[in-house]
């Protein structure tokens, strides 16, 4: 296989390759280190950390759904102090690039979290989980309101070291994702993580009650991939200069390629890790092969490529869909 330049940049920070873990799907990397070297992937996006230790929600917290799963974990975690002392220190010792995801219930909490991270070694980026209920606004989710989103981003950006990019993680559960994207960027977000889970629900037809202890939960996995690709596409079209970390149901290298083509500069592999703990390194390998197969020698050349007119796309011998579903009839119609 010809070597492909897999390096990527997110808001000025260089990464050796574009495959990251996803927040909430990798804890803080230690458990996955049994299956692959966490320093070998682009970065480890940690589970969203809050100020205080947190027990999360009642069980059941999870249900498998067609090509996906739904969860209501409730951000169980050790709190920022234990995280810094134990988890971040461990990631740094491995040489991993840590993307620390933070979550709060108020602007003050977000600001305090950013202050705690400030000046700490081993943090490549900060990802702000804004899909949290605002305790000061009747539990309204920050990510669903442009002003609330921009206030959070502003609070985090102000309290974060200038060399550390701040990415806001957007929720797809909004009328127009570009409105929130623009508000976050205007407030100082250096990039955007697209997308968080979709709010969903499952009812047990035997007990005739909601399955999840939290009643509703976040839907993830390949089932949401087309939604995620659409969101990345829309955000990249609206803000072509803003780097995107894309995620939502990535299972294979070709799935990752789809996100890059839509405009993401890097991707997170999330739910797939639950079923395939070595998935991030497999996706990376498959992505590199897919790029090589298409005669592409630099990953950065495909970022946002799908937005350009089809003439300049792929060599004729490559199969643009990557599977057997080549629309032969359509090709025949187009022939002179």
């Amino acid at each position: 296989m010809t070597r492909v330049d897999m390096t990527t940049r997110l808001a000025g920070v260089a990464f050796p390759n574009p495959v990251f873990t996803a927040s909430g799907c990798a804890a803080a990397g230690q458990e996955l280190h049994a299956f692959f070297d966490v320093a070998s992937i682009g970065g480890v996006v940690t589970k969203s950390i809050m100020l205080a230790p947190r027990s999360g929600r009642a069980t059941p917290r999870m249900a498998e759904t067609p090509s996906g799963m739904i969860n209501s974990i409730g951000l169980q975690g050790p709190g920022i102090d234990a995280f810094l002392e134990r988890d971040l220190a461990w990631l740094e010792a491995q040489g991993a690039r840590a993307v620390v995801s933070i979550a709060g219930g108020s602007l003050e909490e977000y600001a305090l979290l950013a202050q705690k991270l400030r000046g700490r070694a081993g943090i490549a980026m900060v990802e702000v989980n804004i899909s949290c209920p605002n305790v000061e606004d009747r539990g309204q989710v920050f990510a669903c309101d442009p002003t609330a989103s921009s206030n959070v981003v502003d609070a985090v950006r102000r309290n974060t070291s200038s060399g550390v990019p701040v990415f806001a993680k957007l929720s797809p559960d909004v009328t127009d994702i570009t409105t929130i994207a623009r508000a976050c960027v205007a407030a100082g977000a250096d990039g955007l993580s697209v997308i968080n889970t979709l709010l969903g629900m499952v009812i047990d037809t035997t007990t005739m009650r909601p399955v999840l202890g939290g009643v509703t939960g976040g839907l993830s996995g390949p089932a949401i991939r087309p939604v995620a690709v659409r969101c990345v596409w829309q955000v990249h079209a609206a803000l072509p200069d803003v780097p995107i970390l894309g995620m939502g149901g990535i299972r294979t290298g070709l799935d990752a390629l789809e996100f890059l083509l839509a405009g993401a500069s890097a991707v997170s592999v999330g739910t797939t890790v639950f079923g395939d703990p070595s998935a991030p390194v497999r996706v990376l390998r498959e992505l590199e092969q897919a790029l090589a197969d298409r005669g592409i020698d630099r990953l950065s050349d495909v970022v946002g490529l799908a937005h350009r007119p089809p003439a300049a796309r792929v060599p004729e011998d490559a199969d643009p869909l990557g599977d057997e579903l080549v629309p032969a009839a359509a090709a025949q119609e187009a022939a002179p």
Partner: protein, 286 residues
């Protein structure tokens, strides 16, 4: 450290209502101890079922005709296990294991009672073997709804010093629950320690009976899991730590074997308000 390997099905045997499946899994049996479990991918590489199914180890053979093999037992309870039950010799299976913390073994030759409900008896059989090797006296109490849902009673009969069987419908052994006969068995065998695996309600009853008699108990729980390796935080239950504080701990990495007296049985399925980090304010963080 667990490994992820692609194994091959060696055999799939129907035993009553269950299937006992043997799979080659290089590297797994060498590390496996009684109480460890496996996480098995179901539905093939393009499956719409993303999550692994977790099964306790019933047998681990580092050396044999097929190299290292592991065996696990399951009941068909959904599409994933239905797919698994259709696997035949030679089919490939992606396996992660061994996972979890195994049963702790007594340092001295003691009298041990092993209590199994349904196919929950599967991990108790390799445990019995190890206990016997250590000179322990082993007594079994096995129960199920009906005789076809009993598992391991023939093995147990061969291996154990005593065996008591109960079924809810009386189709084998005494009619009733394992908890009905357990106090008398503990008395008669002068047991020093109790091990159990089975449904949560049974584990609670067994833990209570052991605690009433001042006996240590070790129970292997079955909580629904998405990953089995400690990253998803779905399989938690409230457990009291050495410091006396209750935490929501992961049954996949901190369990599945717990001290019976440390599990907050009355609070399983909830986050008790005195747990470390219990949510006191309303909110719906996903």
């Amino acid at each position: 450290m667990p490994v992820q390997v692609t194994g091959e099905v060696v055999s799939a045997k129907r035993i009553g209502a269950y299937t006992a499946m043997t799979v080659t899994a290089p590297g797994v049996p060498e590390l496996a101890r009684p109480g460890h479990f496996l996480a098995v991918q179901v539905g093939g590489p393009a499956s719409s079922m993303l999550l692994r199914r977790a099964f306790a180890l019933y047998d681990m053979s580092p050396r044999g005709v097929y190299g290292g093999t592991v065996q696990f037992v399951f009941a068909v309870s959904g599409r994933g296990t239905a797919w698994l039950a259709e696997r035949r010799s030679g089919d490939r299976l992606d396996v992660v294991g061994p996972l979890g913390r195994p049963f702790r073994l007594p340092a001295h030759p003691v009298s041990a009672t092993l209590v199994g409900g349904g196919y929950g008896s599967a991990p108790l059989l390799p445990l019995a073997r190890v206990l016997r090797e250590r000179g322990c006296r082993v007594s079994f109490v096995l129960g199920a709804g009906s005789v076809d849902r009993l598992f391991g009673h023939l093995d147990a009969k061969r291996m154990a010093d005593t065996l008591a069987v109960t079924t809810d419908d009386g189709s084998a052994g005494e009619r009733g629950r394992v908890s009905d006969v357990l106090p008398a068995v503990l008395e008669r065998t002068d047991s020093d320690v109790v091990y159990a695996c089975g449904p949560m309600a049974m584990l609670r009853a067994v833990s209570d009976i052991a605690a009433e008699r001042g006996l240590p108990s070790q129970v292997a729980v079955e909580e629904s899991m998405a990953c089995g390796i400690g990253v998803c935080m779905t399989c938690v239950l409230p457990v009291v730590g050495d410091d006396g504080q209750t935490r929501m701990v992961r049954s996949c990495v901190e369990g599945p074997v717990f001290r019976g007296d440390r599990v907050r049985w009355d609070a399983v399925g909830t986050v008790p308000p005195d747990a470390v980090g219990a949510i006191t304010a309303p909110g719906a963080h996903r």
